[in-house]
């Protein structure tokens, strides 16, 4: 924990890294995000948005490796990577991911929930620009093997369906938050890549993922990835009052 006076986030000058077309393996994506967090403790906050080069399964910081069906991942050519952030397994490839690295807030605003809600203002505004009326989820499901199989207060929903999951790590004076915005649905899901006690449990998870989530494409957004990325950036800029004074490329 870290203590200290102010809002849940820092407005003003931020760095922006838009890397939708930059090929990078899953491990490199996580290394780049950790670097943002390390820099943010004493320096500028950064928003990075990116896509995944190929399908990848990220698992939470403390999620047991036993949850993963390694053979199923290999058979589908899915990279597996451990996130520094919390939460559960998440299949990337059809999503636009954002990473926010910023100094830890201080005082009463230094709560996990307050930071989730502050940052959520960005993608909520951005989705609004795309005609999608997203809201911060207000209830909690049981934690499950797959991130998108439950809806929690840190997620964004459209109606009752999850459109964006998020997770954080607070370390060494910085907060790193990941957000995964569902743009397109792949032809397989986390339910095909994780281990379950029975095939019935797998089928139930698959049903939860299908019924409990919604993608931008399913919501009628047919804009290009660049346009979607631009809307998310504009959402962050206007809702959080950010000044993206410098566009940067992250190292690696």
């Amino acid at each position: 924990m870290s203590g200290g006076d102010g809002a849940a986030g820092v407005s003003g000058p931020w760095r922006l890294a838009v890397e939708l077309d930059r090929p990078r393996c899953a491990q490199e994506q996580m290394r780049a995000d950790l670097a943002l967090a390390d820099e943010a403790a004493g320096g500028p906050a950064t928003l990075r948005i990116y896509r995944w080069q190929s399908p990848a399964l990220s698992i939470g910081r403390f999620q047991p490796e036993d949850d993963i069906d390694v053979a199923a991942c290999a058979a589908r050519g899915v990279d597996v990577v451990r996130r520094p952030t919390g939460g559960r397994a998440l299949l990337h490839g059809g999503d636009l991911t954002y990473a926010v690295g910023m100094p830890q807030p201080r005082g009463r605003a230094a709560t996990v929930d307050a930071v989730y809600r502050w940052i959520a203002g960005g993608p909520v505004e951005g989705l609004g620009l795309l005609g999608v009326p997203a809201r911060v989820a207000s209830f909690r499901g049981d934690p499950r093997g797959a991130c998108f199989a439950s809806l929690r207060g840190s997620d964004l929903r459209v109606g009752g369906r999850k459109v964006c999951g998020s997770a954080q790590v607070w370390r060494a004076g910085a907060v790193l938050q990941h957000g995964s915005l569902l743009v397109d649905r792949l032809d397989f899901s986390e339910a095909d890549l994780l281990r379950y006690a029975s095939e019935q449990a797998r089928a139930e998870e698959r049903r939860r993922l299908e019924e409990g989530t919604v993608t931008l494409r399913e919501l009628g957004v047919d804009a290009s990835w660049d346009v979607i990325g631009g809307a998310i950036v504009e959402g962050f800029r206007s809702a959080l009052n950010l000044d993206f004074t410098s566009r940067v490329a992250t190292p690696g």
């Binding site: 924990m1 939470g60 910081r61 403390f62 952030t85 009463r108 954080q168």
Partner: protein, 129 residues
């Protein structure tokens, strides 16, 4: 918000507490901290024997998909850990100064306790936030 701050404990500015008995210091996170974190779902406990250094991270906790460092209030060696937290991490939320203790540190430099806050000072810190 009403925050519990027991008089007999010492505190860090990062919201950990210490209960001292001889050279042994029982460590946990404060009521203020558990409230700021939200529902704790996992505690990454340090193994017994781990050397810890004051002000450095020695443990991580996960709450609502968020991972946070816990910092050692004193230096020394971990002598005992609260293994009950492995199956019941919510004890930190329910009883941060009781069943939610994290570990016992055999202190290498009890003089470090002088740098910690007493209850009155910690109470002032959280009331000002």
């Amino acid at each position: 918000m009403s925050t519990s701050v027991p008089d007999e404990l010492r505190y860090t500015k990062e919201h950990e507490w210490v209960r001292v008995e001889g050279s042994r210091a029982t460590v946990g996170i404060t009521d203020y901290a558990q409230d700021a974190l939200g529902d704790i779902v996992y505690v990454d406990l340090p193994p017994v024997g781990t050397a810890v250094k004051a002000t450095e991270s020695f443990c991580e906790v996960e709450s609502t998909k968020s991972v946070s460092d816990v910092y050692a209030p004193v230096s020394g060696r971990v002598d005992e850990v609260n293994t009950e937290l492995a199956d019941a991490p919510e004890r930190i939320n329910d009883s941060p100064y009781g069943d939610g203790w994290i570990c016992v540190v055999e202190m290498s430099d009890p003089g470090e306790l002088d740098a910690l806050l007493d209850a009155a000072s910690y109470r002032t810190l959280v009331e000002e936030q």
